[in-house]
């Protein structure tokens, strides 16, 4: 049951985490996947369907960077819509989590 709640929480905040990561700087797929996997133990593969959805929703966009070795690399960056979506989610999350903290802290 604890495990189920954890997975549910992680899936719910995954989008917000990706947006947060990109708000600090552009990144490429493996970079995003490995940083998030290390932080919140997500299946690395789920990043790619999520990135496609964010792109289709206009929250992120991609551009190619030529690399000296091998093929050019696809980078993701936030769009204006993505940035304002992140700000809204962050505000909501902060209010929600401090309310939950107050409640579960008060129970002890």
């Amino acid at each position: 049951m604890v495990e189920a709640i954890q997975v549910q929480l992680k899936k719910g905040v995954l989008e917000m985490c990706v947006l947060a990561l990109l708000s600090r700087g552009d990144a490429y797929g493996y970079d995003i996947a490995s940083r998030l996997a290390a932080g919140i133990e997500m299946g690395e593969g789920t990043i790619y369907p999520l990135m496609r959805r964010l792109q289709a929703d206009g929250l992120v966009e991609t551009y190619l960077v030529e690399s000296a070795s091998g093929p050019s690399r696809k980078y993701y960056r936030l769009t204006g819509i993505g940035r304002s979506r992140f700000e809204a989610q962050k505000t909501e999350w902060t209010a929600f989590s401090s309310a939950v903290d107050a409640i579960i802290g008060g129970v002890q």
Partner: protein, 191 residues
């Protein structure tokens, strides 16, 4: 699982999507394997960390199906989206199927009624004066015109009903894919 097996199963699961989209998706995962290799990780552990390729393919297909429904609201896109959601196992088919079938059955009945009304109205308008002797011609034509208009209105309402219902279903399915399904998988021990 090797890199080759992972990509093969993913490619197999993505059949039916536009070739350009498949190439792009496969490219993303190939780059992922390349980058992981450069970081010194072995293929098997990278494939394991990526997760089940069949499930990833179903998620990607469902997303594509839902996008298509949002872009073009026609029966084929609706069927596509509904089957994509059902394929994900996001909705309990046994519970939902009777509801879906009865609603679509009702909508189908309404559509048939609309077509019949339209046809009868058209016939009455054009041939009524010829077949029914003695009745005032203007009354027959007006009655026929009324039926045609009623049939059209009925048909439009049915179409709107279908669009609204499919949208609700898609919304419901998405909610479950994003929130409930991972939790259910975790309970089944295959997160």
């Amino acid at each position: 699982m090797t890199r080759h097996q992972f990509l093969d199963r993913l490619r197999l699961g993505l059949r039916g999507l536009p070739p350009a989209a498949v190439a792009e998706i496969i490219g993303d995962y190939e780059t992922h394997f390349d980058d992981a290799h450069a970081a010194g990780r072995d293929e098997a552990s990278v494939a394991a960390a990526l997760g089940d390729p069949d499930r990833l393919a179903r998620e990607l297909r469902a997303e594509a199906g839902l996008k298509r429904w949002e872009a073009e609201r026609n029966p084929s896109a609706a069927a596509n989206a509904i089957f994509a959601i059902l394929g994900l196992g996001a909705i309990d088919v046994l519970i939902l199927l009777p509801i879906v079938l009865s609603i679509f059955g009702t909508l189908f009945g309404f559509a048939c009624a609309a077509v019949v009304m339209f046809a009868v109205g058209a016939v009455m308008m054009v041939l009524g004066p010829v077949i029914v002797q003695g009745a005032p011609i203007a009354a027959l034509i007006l009655a026929g015109l009324g039926l045609v208009a009623l049939g059209t209105a009925f048909g439009s309402l049915t179409a709107i009903g279908g669009v609204v219902f499919t949208s609700i279903l898609v919304w419901y399915g998405r909610l479950h894919v994003r929130v409930l399904k991972p939790a259910l998988d975790a309970q089944g021990g295959m997160a």
